[in-house]
Symmetry: C3
Subunit: 302 residues, 3 copies
Amino acid sequence: MKISGTFLDEITHDIPSANWGPEEWAADFDAMQKIGIDTVIVIRGGYKDRSTFNSEALKSFQPMLPVYTDLVQVFLDQAQRCGMKLFFGLYDSGLHWQKGDYEKEAEINKFFSEEVTQKYGQHPAFQGWYLSHEMSVYDSKLIRIYEELTGHLRSLKNLPVLMSPYVKGRKQFEDPITPQEHYKQWDTILGNLSSKVDIVAFQDGQVDFYELPEIMSINKELADKHGLQAWSNVETFERGMPINFLPINWQNLRYKMEVAKNAGVEKLITFEFSHFMSPNSIYRSAHNLYKRYREWLDLGSF
Amino acid sequence: MKISGTFLDEITHDIPSANWGPEEWAADFDAMQKIGIDTVIVIRGGYKDRSTFNSEALKSFQPMLPVYTDLVQVFLDQAQRCGMKLFFGLYDSGLHWQKGDYEKEAEINKFFSEEVTQKYGQHPAFQGWYLSHEMSVYDSKLIRIYEELTGHLRSLKNLPVLMSPYVKGRKQFEDPITPQEHYKQWDTILGNLSSKVDIVAFQDGQVDFYELPEIMSINKELADKHGLQAWSNVETFERGMPINFLPINWQNLRYKMEVAKNAGVEKLITFEFSHFMSPNSIYRSAHNLYKRYREWLDLGSF
Amino acid sequence: MKISGTFLDEITHDIPSANWGPEEWAADFDAMQKIGIDTVIVIRGGYKDRSTFNSEALKSFQPMLPVYTDLVQVFLDQAQRCGMKLFFGLYDSGLHWQKGDYEKEAEINKFFSEEVTQKYGQHPAFQGWYLSHEMSVYDSKLIRIYEELTGHLRSLKNLPVLMSPYVKGRKQFEDPITPQEHYKQWDTILGNLSSKVDIVAFQDGQVDFYELPEIMSINKELADKHGLQAWSNVETFERGMPINFLPINWQNLRYKMEVAKNAGVEKLITFEFSHFMSPNSIYRSAHNLYKRYREWLDLGSF
């Protein structure tokens, strides 16, 4: 069971830009293809005042920074060239929903997704939607936004809808959730989102390694119960270190992949290839991670 | 309008050393020259117990670490070789002025600048002074130090005097200044420093992108009003990220250069080339930034 | 006087993994050998749920992550190939001793060191023990653990025992220790550990540069008084910077080596070569540090 999907982290939010142009992105899609990646997920189409293309929809709500390269076009073309499916992530205002104004966040995203569909909807690589707002516990307002948006997205272009929640785990939170409470929360959430969201890919990095098997089994059980596909977001960056964020230790990555396989998930995706496990990464330990991963895949050296 | 000046960040203070020797510095001056840099500014001649050369003046005030390479000589020789002007930045005790003892800070710098003039004053590349103590709002004592030092510096060697203040902006401060208050503060400050300081190059990184046009217009207006040249310090590192500090996203750099051009500033300098946009940088994203910048300059690939 | 020993920082704890496999480790041992390193010290055989080999002893106390490469075997074989001595560092639970349960920490380490002796004790490169629990001031319980463990280790395999304490210096602590108090504390500690520990290699990075000569003289004087060998742990990473941890400025490293030489220590080791001064490091400034260091050693360029 190998990693066959990756997020594309533009707009970068807390990860530094590699300053790649179309040429460097093309080289990285080649590197992805070599290890069997068939799915790419744009983490968010826009964030605050930044966007992946010059969006008139977003500009109608707030001033936006100019965009000099249409990254959505670059990513779609590369995905097509490499035979990959692209999931498009929505806009995150970093503002309205944090202040409780979910209606505004939904409204902006309706306009935004309409523009995206109009501009890129006919592209053959456009194969899915990604809900970029992340959840960890039940939140009635965020659930409502998910419900409203998924209906709207399907009406625009009826494609699989992916979400990638995080676990309120002890590596990130001082009051971590118990497995029992995690089960309860997500039983309710997925009950609400059943038939609206198609795929749930929990992040695997917030939980301590020894707790991961139990949490992943819960995630898989609940996805099955509510009729969603269960993928795992096998994070390729290390958590809990002084430098946020650098490539993960290969040993830890391999362990997490094995736990995911044992839990029976259907697909492994990662946040994310280009910074943390690419031979083109700005981080040299990522080059070595790619080597270790390819040795493990038995693809030979290169 | 391109970046034609850069700080040289030795003594490094909060940026890691690249451990370059004279050979690596020479290669980096070549890279600077290729994109049209004609001005280099030594950020500070000394900081706390470290200095750019073995300064007897500084040693007479406090114990100093030994210096094994005379960086001032290296920088002056490289600047001359590449046809660049060097501005020399003063000593920052990191101690006296923070404790309110501005007299001491001025006294040390008078001795220090005398020694610097004696040792390096005849070098043809020595073409300016840089006031390394940074200001963001009116500070009567720091103004007095500026007044005393600029008079002294001109008496030693009558060269242009540069300052590079920061804006108390929301990217760095929890109680950011309003544009109105920024205008008021700097109207007073530049009124005081008129005919003492020749050039003011505000840092552009503390302000949110959407506020930058307004703040830069104020900066230019005030410089004109008080008879100073207005340059812009277009920072090439990213602010507001978990890792402090890494190369900026090319999109953000280009945006800030365009804002500066629209505000009518006379020259763009940056903090700083060697770590954040050099093809020789210890950071790989800087190599890509140099590529993006050269593509934009239409200098062709390399 | 050159650096002739280095820690091997696996299990990495707060330093990111380079993701090296046996091939990359072999190349790094070559680089070590070129500058005269004859001693390697495994910083810890295990830490929390991670270990350098699949330890049955540790698994009998708590769940451990699987280990896919036997690093102890890799390190011992490389050390032998390069004619180096290896000191083996003990297990740090990161739990029991912090909670005051020193008995538990000692008990685990007794089992662990027995297993280590059985598995690797006959390897010709296995030439010393390293006490991985670090001390800075007198701690009666930690002293007892040292006493118990050193006796046990010697009964298993009678080899030199090394410790590398830290100084409660102002670069890391808000209430730094005075030199007088440091003398008093370590006079007592080394009095207790005399004839139990053979070598003491104080870390040199917590102390401000100007205080280092005094502190190092104290360290040497006390080691002599109590019959221990005095080495110095010349840290090759920079302290007190926003990014923890990156390679040190060559100037600072050279200064610290000179202070150690003046204090009369018998050997210089470092934490650590592979991340911070290796030509194979994931950090490019380390490559330059290696160059500077070799120039200084007069080994010529390469």
